[in-house]
Structures are given as structure tokens and as C-alpha cells.
């Protein structure tokens, strides 16, 4: 069965009927589509994963500061609390959140990252996968393979809705990243293809309506902390799905609803820095501080 990436249901059916994981089918078919071998396509994904791992390490530098001065150093702060056992919600969650901050702060500082699916949402997937890999000492191959499942979900969302904040708001960026991460985690923990689909649906439902309102138009405030939320949301969704809890609304309907919500959303809330947090008094003040007195379009 040739995957078209038009629905999540298609992925579930293809995997269930062939008794394979979604990632295995996606890798096989992508190699064919790219006129490449399975080993070569896997190796490219593995090298992207290695960049993700390095961006976590680099982003934990406490001296990092972005050119605007708006961000840097918070990942290191949380990591310190986790290492000293002073955080309150467990080692895995604390670590995961600090990794999400690390990657997105490193991105703000012109660091090398993997857009997943975008640069603004680049922290969610690495944080979810690497924190779990480290916590449970999982084999790298399982983690890299899960990125094919995450990508397949991302392709369906990109085709049927959007992964761009300018088109669909933050629900399309951090929301999509969170749904992709949830799907990957569910496969890593041996969830069935249907559970993968349910975790994607749940994650996307929880972020529905989230607007894209970056202060001064920069990928910093609130993007960095929203990435931290994205990984926590991915854990929640995967935890629910792996326990056999279904999404009442199927993933494909959730994706179409997300598209519709994106269309209904005012353009002032879609990466124009004219509404939401960008238009708050503090947001406008920071914008003028960075780009000059005429710069703020939010007021």
C-alpha cells in the first residue's frame, strides 16, 4: 500500500495490516520515493538526531544570550535545579522541560538546530525523545526510527492543515511538534499504531486555538516557554494513549478542526506581532527597545 500522507488513518491501517510499526513502513517508502536506500535515509535521519543531541548540550550553557537580549540561560537554571534534586515534578519531566528550553534558547542565539517541524518549535521533539532515551537508557535506533513516525504525522498535518504559524497560529507549530512528539513516544513505548494516532489527536486537541503572538516578531517570547509546554503536553498525550485511553475525536478530524480554527484566527494572531502578547504594554516596550521607537505595530 503506497502511503499518500493524506490521513493518519492511512498510516494506522498500513502499519496494522502489515504488522509493522508506522516508522518501518515510512522509512521503506521514503527510501523509494527519494531514489535512495533505506540505510542512506536512516543515516540522514540519524545525523539530524545527532544535531538535536548537540543542540541540547550547547543550549544548556548558562552564559547564552540572544542578540535581542530577550532570552538565554533559563535552561541552565532549570537543569541545575533538576541535578540538585530540587525540582518538584520528577527527574524526567524536569529534564525534558530544560532540554526544550535549551534547544529553543540555542536557536534564538543563532545556534545550529533541526527545524521540527519549524525553528520556532524546534525544542519539543528533541526534548521528548532525548530525555526519555536518557532516563530509560533506550537504544538509539528506536529513537531515530521514531522520528519517521513523527515526520509522517507532520506530513499529514502539513498537507491537511498547516505547520506554519503565519497560516495556523502556534497550534500549527508547537501544537504540531507536540503531536509529532507524542506519536513518536507512543511508538517507542510499544503502543499500537492506533495508540500512536490517539496520542497525536490528544496532543493536538490540547493545543487547539493557541495563537502565534511573538513579542517584537522574534522567535523568543513566548515561543521558548511554549516549547517547554509542548513536551509536557506530549508526555500527557502519550501517557493517556499508552494506557488505552482513546481520543473521542479521531486524529484526522482533529487535524481538520485545527485547520479551520487557524482559518478563523485573526491575522493579528498569526505571526504578525500585532496581537496577543506582542500587543501587551510590555511586549510593545520591548519591541521599541530592540527595533527603535517606530517599530511596534502592536499598539
Amino acid at each position: 500500500m503506497k502511503l499518500k500522507y493524506n490521513t493518519v488513518e492511512e498510516l494506522v491501517e498500513a502499519a496494522s495490516s502489515s504488522h509493522k510499526k508506522i516508522s518501518e513502513i515510512v522509512l521503506e517508502q521514503q527510501a523509494g520515493d527519494m531514489e535512495s536506500t533505506i540505510e542512506e535515509v536512516y543515516a540522514t535521519m540519524e545525523s539530524s538526531f545527532d544535531v538535536m543531541r548537540q543542540s541540547v548540550i550547547s543550549g544548556l550553557d548558562e552564559t547564552l544570550r540572544s542578540p535581542s537580549g530577550l532570552s538565554g540561560g533559563s535552561a541552565a537554571k532549570l537543569k541545575k535545579a533538576v541535578d540538585e534534586g530540587k525540582n518538584h515534578y520528577g527527574h524526567l519531566l524536569g529534564n525534558a522541560i530544560s532540554m526544550a528550553l535549551a534547544v529553543t534558547e540555542f536557536n534564538s542565539c543563532m545556534g545550529k538546530i533541526v527545524a521540527a517541524p519549524t525553528a520556532g518549535s524546534c525544542g519539543v521533539i528533541p526534548a521528548a525523545l532525548i530525555s526519555v532515551m536518557d532516563e530509560y537508557d533506550l537504544p538509539k535506533r528506536d529513537i531515530v526510527m521514531s522520528l519517521f513516525t513523527a515526520s509522517a504525522i507532520g506530513m499529514v498535518i502539513a498537507k491537511c492543515a498547516s505547520i506554519a504559524g503565519a497560516e495556523g497560529g502556534c497550534q500549527a507549530e508547537v501544537g504540531s511538534a507536540s503531536a509529532m512528539a507524542a506519536a513518536a513516544l507512543t511508538e517507542i513505548f510499544d503502543g499500537t499504531p492506533q495508540m500512536v494516532s490517539d496520542s497525536c489527536a490528544i496532543a493536538l486537541k490540547n493545543t487547539m486555538g493557541l495563537v502565534c503572538d511573538p513579542v517584537a516578531g522574534l522567535v523568543e517570547v513566548p515561543c521558548i516557554k511554549r516549547n517547554a509546554m509542548g513536551v509536557a503536553n506530549a508526555f500527557t498525550a502519550s501517557e493517556l494513549a499508552c494506557a488505552g485511553i482513546k481520543s473521542v475525536i479521531p486524529a484526522d478530524e482533529v487535524i481538520l478542526a485545527m485547520r479551520q480554527v487557524g482559518q478563523l484566527m485573526s491575522t493579528s494572531l498569526k505571526e504578525t506581532a500585532e496581537g496577543g502578547l506582542a500587543a501587551t504594554p510590555t511586549g510593545c516596550r520591548l519591541c521599541r527597545q530592540i527595533f527603535g521607537p517606530e517599530a511596534c505595530s502592536g499598539e
Binding site: S47, S48, P67, V114, A115, A116, T118, S151, M155, I163
Partner: protein, 219 residues
Amino acid sequence: MNVFDIVGPVMIGPSSSHTAGAARIGKTAALLLGEPVAKADILFHGSFAKTYKGHGTDKAIVGGILKYDPWDPGIRTSLETAQIQGICVNIHTGTIENAHPNTALVTLTGSGGATISVQGASIGGGNIIITKINDMEVYFTGQNTTLIVMHQDVPGIIAQVTNLVAAGNANICNFRLNRQEKGGIAIMTIEMDSDVDPSLVSEIRLLPHVYNTILLKLG
């Protein structure tokens, strides 16, 4: 679309549209120039004009002009590198009629005196569309292996070029021809499904009425 359009590109932050896409527009212009860059004139339009400093769009596009890919850390210090290499860089902001919000117009002068102007839009996720070359409308993304052939508009030239492509065993997935006027200068953009032997470029360059040919594959 493939998996690496979703988990990818690997890039220098902070914004796939304002950084990675800008680097790709710059690199495309440098490749089209075909000789070392001596002078670069960059016009930012729309959101690029408003926020280029905060996003490092200037560093990214100059990095591209230095032929860096979007993931090259050299992007961070590209303005200094350009200065060291003696490249004169001018950055302006302004309005380009009917252009996408993230548009840049890059005009390059080479050390041998060649010039080229390339207008490109960064449409999200690091993807770009080149919309004009030397004020002539074109349309290509660089996602596929793309041949760009600048030539005189004469009968039979398309057949001669595509015969060479066929002999190189490449399947054309998109073909477009734009010309200023009948018999004038024209640009063929030929997108292909797979990589081709770079020798194809030199073979096409040898054809009569062909001014320049480049093979473009943006990482």
C-alpha cells in the same frame, strides 16, 4: 514533500523563514553569478525589512552569498567574513510591488564584472521560491535538482537542452521557460527527480545560443 522537509532542515537559528530561507536566496544568487562576488546589494521587503536585525536575516543572506548552507555556523560571522574578503555589502529596506512579505532582492557584481539580480521569497520552513532573475519572471524552489539555462530565444534550443538531459538519464518533473521578448534572452528552469552528472552542465554550456548554465541543488 518528504520526511526531511518536516524533521529538517538542519539550520542556524532562529527562524526557518527569516534565517534558513534567506541563506538559500543568497546562495542561489551567488551560484547564478558564477564568479567570485565583489559587491552585494540587498533589498529587504516586508517582514524581512522590519525584523531582519532581530532574526539575523542580514547575516544569513550574506552567508548565503558566501555560499554557506543554512546549517553552516559561519553564518553567525558572515558580515565580518565578507568584509575580510573585500566584498562590499549594502543592505537597504524598501517596498517591492506585489511581493511576498518575506522577499529579498539580491544584486551581485562579480570580480570579473558580471552582474545578476535575483528576487526570492522565503515561504516558510526554510523553503524558498525564486521569482525573478534579472527582472525576468521565473519560478523555482531549488528543492529538486534544477538546471537553470540562460539562452537566446531561438527555435530548437529546448529540444537540444532536453535531449542532453534525457541522455543523462534524468527525468524532468517540471519545465518552465520565461523570455523577455521573442528572440530575446530567455531562461529555462528544468527541475529533475534525481541528481545528474555535473558534466551535463558543461555539455549544455557548449551549445550555441546558451549564455550560462548552472546546476542548483539547495541542501
